[in-house]
Structure formats: structure tokens, C-alpha cells
């Protein structure tokens, strides 16, 4: 596996460099190639599960060069990225026929995937920043892909806030370098362990939290998300909400926080508060929306809140020195929710795209009675809604259950109460979607609506199937120990990460 690690980045990058050459004539070939790449990445990600290795780029040692690190957390994220991107790419085959410049779209899509994969496997802070920037720039361009008023406006706002966030992150990295003289995460972490966190590093951490928080749209910084996620083409919304904010926001934040700087009580509480605020505010804002995609976007804020809450709870418990089993449970809940949300939120955005393509509108009030006309879309939408609302057999239920159990065990009863009540809000929100989109009376102008066909349906059905069986990831012990547990352990081990990476590097050096 170690030898294949650069393929996660280099394959989509090369594909992105080659795809624009095809032009309009080779459009179908280019689409085929792009699908091939995403499926290849999916296979690679499945193969990487349970592995743990490092790759020294250019054979330079850990100290002077850049390393790629694959561990449980990275492979969990890689799996989520490749599942969502494969489905979104399959969906795009038909959906993006409405737009011009399809090969450019495919190329940007590939760049976004390459950027996210690069973030997931990077073991160097500056390298993480560079790949984060690839993914962000590709997403700015893709949000504005439609080039109409709303898209351009959303893209501009997103890009301004995103650039501010990037500058903050870069400044934070500069301060980290200025205090530790290294950029490699393992060595930065070692320097921090030996010298302690001085005010400079604390300020750097604050800048990084603000920067990654902006990218992840946590509540004080969430203003851009509803505009951007609702204006993008549907497969891109699925990518953005499903996986991008998690990769360049949550993942980068947790990696830096848990494995490089080390958790502290203050930061843990900060995350808990931000998570709770995001959950509550996102849910309340979502209920009032009448635009289908906007509702989904606000709901993303709320769901990201769950993830951050779980991770923050874990961080707090670790810092308090409480029973590690509770912390592990909270982190497990957060990470499992991250994966679940990636699947069902992207599915919901794909259904919204399917509905929008069929009816030509996103306003809930203008729709209705589509259940008879679009049975498959209706079925998958119901599955996804049940899942996001936490109805028992589906995926979302299990992750929320774990979070509630963790909160109760740790003694934070009020957190558990908020968790459950936000979950009820979510249920109401999605009942509203069902009611206004699929039930009720069919308006006259929608009589000729047809079910979407081909690749769009396949993508949605596959994701819906995943939604139903995601619970197994937790319930089947062998799957749990190979997929989820390594990821949780990476966060639990905290600062031991640096020793592990350095040790893995030296042992691989001996092998070669």
C-alpha cells in the first residue's frame, strides 16, 4: 500500500491536466475517463482501509522532505471522499449536460478531489495548506459554474471569506514555523511537547481555528455556506456539503488540534460550544426555509455541529483526564456521524438536483405531488431523510445514539437534551420536505414531469443502499475494528502521533 500512496493525488491531478485537451468533441470520452478515475480512487481507498504507512516523497528523510501519512483517520476520510465523489461524478454525467464547458467542469472536479485527497494524506502543515487551497479554489470556481447572478454572487462571497480564511491559516503556519523551525507535523508536535505552548503558538492555534472554522462554516463563521451550497450545481453541492467542508475544515482542524498541538480544556469547550451553536442555529434557520437546497444547506451547518460536538466532547474528556472509554465513545460518535452525513447529505443534494432538473424550480411551495411522477427519487429521498432525522434502522440513528450515550455517560445531561431536541427539529424539517415536494397536490404546470434517468438514478440508488447498510459499519465488529476504531485511536493517541510517524519512517527505512 505504501507504494500506492501518491496515486491518491497524482492520478486525479494528471487526469485534471489532461481532460481540458479533449474539448467539446471528446466530451463523452472525457466523461468516461473521469468516471474511471473516481472509481479507481474508490478501489484504492477501499484497499487502504486498515492500513497505516508513511511515504517519503522524493526519498528525502522525514526531517527535510515532505511525508505522506496514511492512518486510520486518513483512510476513513479517503473512503468518504471517494464514495461521495464517485457518486457525484456518476450523477454529473447526465446532469451537467445542461451546462457548457463540460470538460472544464470535469477537470475542476478532479482538481477538487485531488486537493481533498492531498489534504487527507499530508503529513506536513504547509503541504496541507497548498492542497487545501487547490480544493478551495476549485470549489469557488465550481460554485460560480452557472455564471448567473446568484451563482456569481455566492461564489464571490464564498471566495472572499475563503481567502480570508486561507490567509489566516497561512499566518498561523508562519507563526508555527517561526517558533519551531519545522513544518513537518511530527516534528512540530515534538517541539511543542518539549517547549510547551508559548503565546506565539497559542495565537497561531487561534488563527488556525478561525481559519479552519471559516472553511468548515461553524456557527460564527457560517454566513457563506447557505449561499454557496445552494447556488452550485447539484453534484457540486453534494461534494461541498457532503465532504469538502469536512475535509478542509473539520479534518484539518482535528488533525492540527489533536495530533500537533494537543488538546486542552479551553479548546475542547470552545469546540463543544461551537458545535452546539451550529446545531441549534442551523436547525432553526433551516426550518424556516422554503428553498429546497437552501434548507439542505442550513441543515448541513446543523449536522456539522454534531460532528464538532462529538470531537469537542472527546477533547474535553481527554483534557479532563476522564475515563478514556467515554472520550473514545464521543469521538467515535463524531467521526461516524461525519461519514454518515457525507453519504446522506450528498444523497439529499442529488435528489434536490433531480427534482430541480425535472421541475425547473427549487421553491418548495411551487412543488407538490411528485411522489407518483418520480417514484425512485421519492424513495431515495425518504431513505435519506429518515437517515438524517435519526429514524432507527438507518445510519444517522446510530451515530446520534452514540453521541447521546457519550454525553450522558460523561455527565453532560443538558448536551444530551439539546442533541435529542435538535434531532426532533431535523425530523420536522424533513417531514416538511416530504410534505411539500412529494405529497400534496400536483400543480398543473408539473403534469409533464418525468423521472430522471440513467446514471443519475444509479448514483442515487447506490447512495441510498449505502445509507441503509451504513449501520453495519458500527454493528459488525470486524468492520468496526478495521474502519472506525483505527480512526478513533488516531485521535485518542493525541501527541503520540509524532513518535508513531517518526518510528514508522525509521522502520521503513530499514526495510528499504
Amino acid at each position: 500500500m505504501s507504494r500506492m500512496l501518491p496515486a491518491f493525488v497524482i492520478v486525479p491531478l494528471v487526469a485534471a491536466f489532461v481532460l481540458p485537451i479533449f474539448g467539446t468533441k471528446g466530451k463523452s470520452l472525457a466523461t468516461f475517463l473521469a468516471n474511471l478515475v473516481t472509481i479507481f480512487l474508490l478501489v484504492l481507498a477501499v484497499l487502504s482501509v486498515g492500513q497505516s504507512c508513511v511515504y517519503e516523497v522524493g526519498s528525502w528523510s522525514l526531517r527535510v522532505g515532505i511525508v505522506l501519512v496514511l492512518d486510520g483517520l486518513s483512510s476513513l476520510l479517503l473512503l468518504a471522499i471517494s464514495v461521495v465523489s464517485a457518486a457525484a461524478m456518476l450523477f454529473s454525467v447526465r446532469y451537467m449536460e445542461r451546462y457548457t464547458a463540460k470538460t472544464k467542469y470535469l477537470s475542476l472536479f478532479m482538481l477538487m478531489v485531488a486537493g481533498m485527497n492531498g489534504v487527507a494524506i499530508s503529513g506536513d502543515i504547509f503541504n496541507l495548506f497548498v492542497f487545501l487551497e487547490i480544493a478551495s479554489l476549485a470549489s469557488y470556481a465550481l460554485v460560480g459554474f452557472g455564471c448567473e447572478h446568484e451563482e456569481l454572487e455566492a461564489s464571490f462571497k464564498y471566495m472572499v471569506l475563503g481567502s480570508v480564511a486561507s490567509t489566516f491559516i497561512l499566518f498561523g503556519i508562519a507563526l508555527v514555523y517561526g517558533n519551531t523551525a519545522s513544518l513537518n507535523m511530527a516534528y512540530v508536535s515534538k517541539a511543542i511537547q518539549s517547549n510547551g505552548i508559548n503565546p506565539g503558538l497559542a495565537f497561531a492555534l487561534a488563527l488556525l481555528i478561525v481559519g479552519f472554522g471559516l472553511k468548515a462554516a461553524l456557527v460564527p463563521f457560517h454566513a457563506w455556506l447557505p449561499d454557496a451550497h445552494s447556488s452550485a450545481p447539484a453534484p457540486i453541492s453534494a461534494m461541498l456539503s457532503g465532504i469538502l467542508i469536512k475535509t478542509i475544515g473539520i479534518y484539518a482542524l482535528t488533525r492540527v488540534l489533536f495530533n500537533v498541538f494537543g488538546v486542552s480544556l479551553a479548546v475542547g469547550w470552545l469546540l463543544v460550544v461551537m458545535g452546539l451553536l451550529s446545531m441549534v442555529a442551523g436547525a432553526f434557520l433551516a426550518i424556516g426555509q422554503w428553498d429546497f437546497k437552501r434548507l439542505l444547506a442550513y441543515s448541513s451547518i446543523s449536522q456539522i455541529g454534531y460532528v464538532v460536538l462529538g470531537l469537542g466532547l472527546g477533547a474535553t474528556l481527554i483534557a479532563m483526564g476522564a475515563n478514556p472509554a467515554w472520550a473514545s465513545l464521543a469521538i467515535l460518535g463524531g467521526l461516524f456521524h461525519l461519514v454518515n452525513h457525507a453519504v446522506y447529505k450528498s444523497l439529499l443534494f442529488l435528489t434536490s438536483g433531480s427534482v430541480e432538473m425535472a421541475t425547473g424550480t427549487r421553491q418548495l411551495k411551487e412543488m407538490g405531488g411528485l411522489a407518483g411522477k418520480m417514484p425512485v427519487t421519492r424513495a431515495v429521498c425518504t431513505i435519506a431523510s429518515a437517515s438524517i432525522a435519526g429514524v432507527p434502522p438507518f445510519a444517522g440513528f446510530w451515530s446520534k445514539l452514540i453521541l447521546v450515550i457519550a454525553a450522558i455517560q460523561a455527565g453532560f445531561y443538558w448536551v444530551a437534551v439539546i442533541l435529542v431536541s435538535v434531532s426532533v427539529c431535523t425530523l420536522i424539517m424533513y417531514l416538511k420536505v416530504q410534505r411539500y415536494v412529494f405529497l400534496g397536490e400536483l400543480p398543473d404546470n408539473l403534469r409533464k414531469v418525468r423521472e430522471s434517468k440513467g446514471s443519475m438514478l444509479i448514483a442515487m440508488v447506490v447512495l441510498a443502499g449505502l445509507c441503509m447498510v451504513m449501520g453495519l459499519l458500527l454493528l459488525v465488529p470486524s468492520l468496526k475494528t478495521s474502519v472506525l476504531d483505527p480512526a478513533v485511536n488516531v485521535l485518542l493517541e493525541g501527541l503520540k502521533y509524532s513518535d508513531r510517524v517518526i518510528q514508522m519512517c525509521s522502520s521503513q527505512g530499514k526495510l528499504l
Binding site: 515532505i66 451546462y99 487551497e133 476549485a138 470556481a141 452557472g146 513537518n184 495565537f203
Partner: protein, 183 residues
């Protein structure tokens, strides 16, 4: 040493003018002044690579900015957003500044880079072994294209992404005329 203060003050003044002037064109030209000041600063900080790159990028960036700026009726939009938002933002920015301005004391003094204080820092390796390990006399070149070549691949991809993005944003027609009567 004094030269750095002079140049930084020059850049700061240019920045304040660029931010506060009403005329967009003069604002853009002040950005150019900041960039050229920065370029000179890089030269005095013994970073000729960066100085060259900064100056050529500055020229091209100015052309891009002027492209966006010059027109007759645009230069009049001035002023800030609504009052309350401005006050809150200024307060937050002031807090950031006051919090941040202290932290620089923890850095080594200006003029003694951190890598001289940390044993086995990567930069020391680059300087000592850069020529023998990569063959490039320009150590910065050897760092960006060999030791940290992967970063530069990312950098090339960033530029590729943004240019592709700009072309996508600037294309004339975004949606096809639909064959199916969808709307």
C-alpha cells in the same frame, strides 16, 4: 536596519491610502506601490528570488486589477457597509491586533532566524548539503523543486485551477438551450 523601517512605513502609508482613497485607480496604483516596496524589502532581506518573482507578479497583478477598475462611472462607490456591522468588525479587528501584537516577542529577535537555534533544523541541512544532494547552486531552487517538490506540484495545480476557474467564470454562455421542454 533603518532601511526596513523606512520601507515598511512606506508600505503602510501606501496601504492606508489604498484602503481609504476614493478613486479606485489611485487605490490600485497604491497597491502597486506596496508591491514594489515589498519587492525592495525582499531584496534587502537577501531574498533575490522572491524579489524578482514579486516584481513580475506585481506588474501582471496590476494589469489584472486595472482591467477590472478602469471605467468612468465606477470610481464613485465609496464608504463602508452599514454602521453597526462596521463597528463590530472594527472592534473584532482591534481585538485581533491587540492580541496578536504581543506574541511576536516570543519569536527570536529580528535578524537571528529560528533555524540557527534549533539543532538539526531542516534549513541547516538545505544550506549545508543542498548543493551536493541536489546539484542546484540556488538553494531556494533546490528546496522548491527537489526537497519540497511535492509542494510545487501543488502550487502548479493551484495556478492551473485558478486559471481554469477564471476561464470558466468568463465564458460567454453557461447553459445550453434545452432540447427538452423543461422550463
Amino acid at each position: 536596519m533603518a532601511i526596513f523601517y523606512i520601507l515598511l512605513l512606506f508600505m503602510l502609508i501606501a496601504a492606508i491610502i489604498a484602503v481609504e482613497t476614493k478613486d479606485l485607480l489611485s487605490s490600485v496604483i497604491c497597491v502597486g506601490a506596496i508591491g514594489f516596496g515589498g519587492s525592495l524589502m525582499f531584496l534587502f532581506l537577501y531574498a533575490p528570488d522572491i524579489a524578482i518573482t514579486q516584481i513580475v507578479v506585481e506588474v501582471l497583478g496590476l494589469i489584472l486589477l486595472i482591467r477590472a477598475t478602469i471605467s468612468r462611472d465606477l470610481t464613485t462607490i465609496t464608504g463602508d457597509r452599514e454602521f453597526f456591522g462596521v463597528v463590530v468588525s472594527v472592534a473584532i479587528i482591534a481585538v485581533i491586533f491587540l492580541a496578536g501584537v504581543r506574541v511576536f516577542e516570543t519569536l527570536p529577535d529580528f535578524g537571528t532566524p529560528i533555524f540557527t537555534k534549533v539543532p538539526d533544523a531542516p534549513s541547516q541541512t538545505y544550506i549545508e548539503k543542498g548543493l551536493s544532494e541536489t546539484g542546484a547552486a540556488n538553494i531556494v531552487s533546490s528546496v522548491i523543486l527537489d526537497y519540497r517538490g511535492y509542494d510545487t506540484l501543488g502550487e502548479a495545480a493551484v495556478l492551473f485551477t485558478s486559471i481554469l476557474g477564471a476561464l470558466v467564470i468568463l465564458r460567454a454562455r453557461s447553459r445550453k438551450l434545452l432540447e427538452e421542454p423543461d422550463e
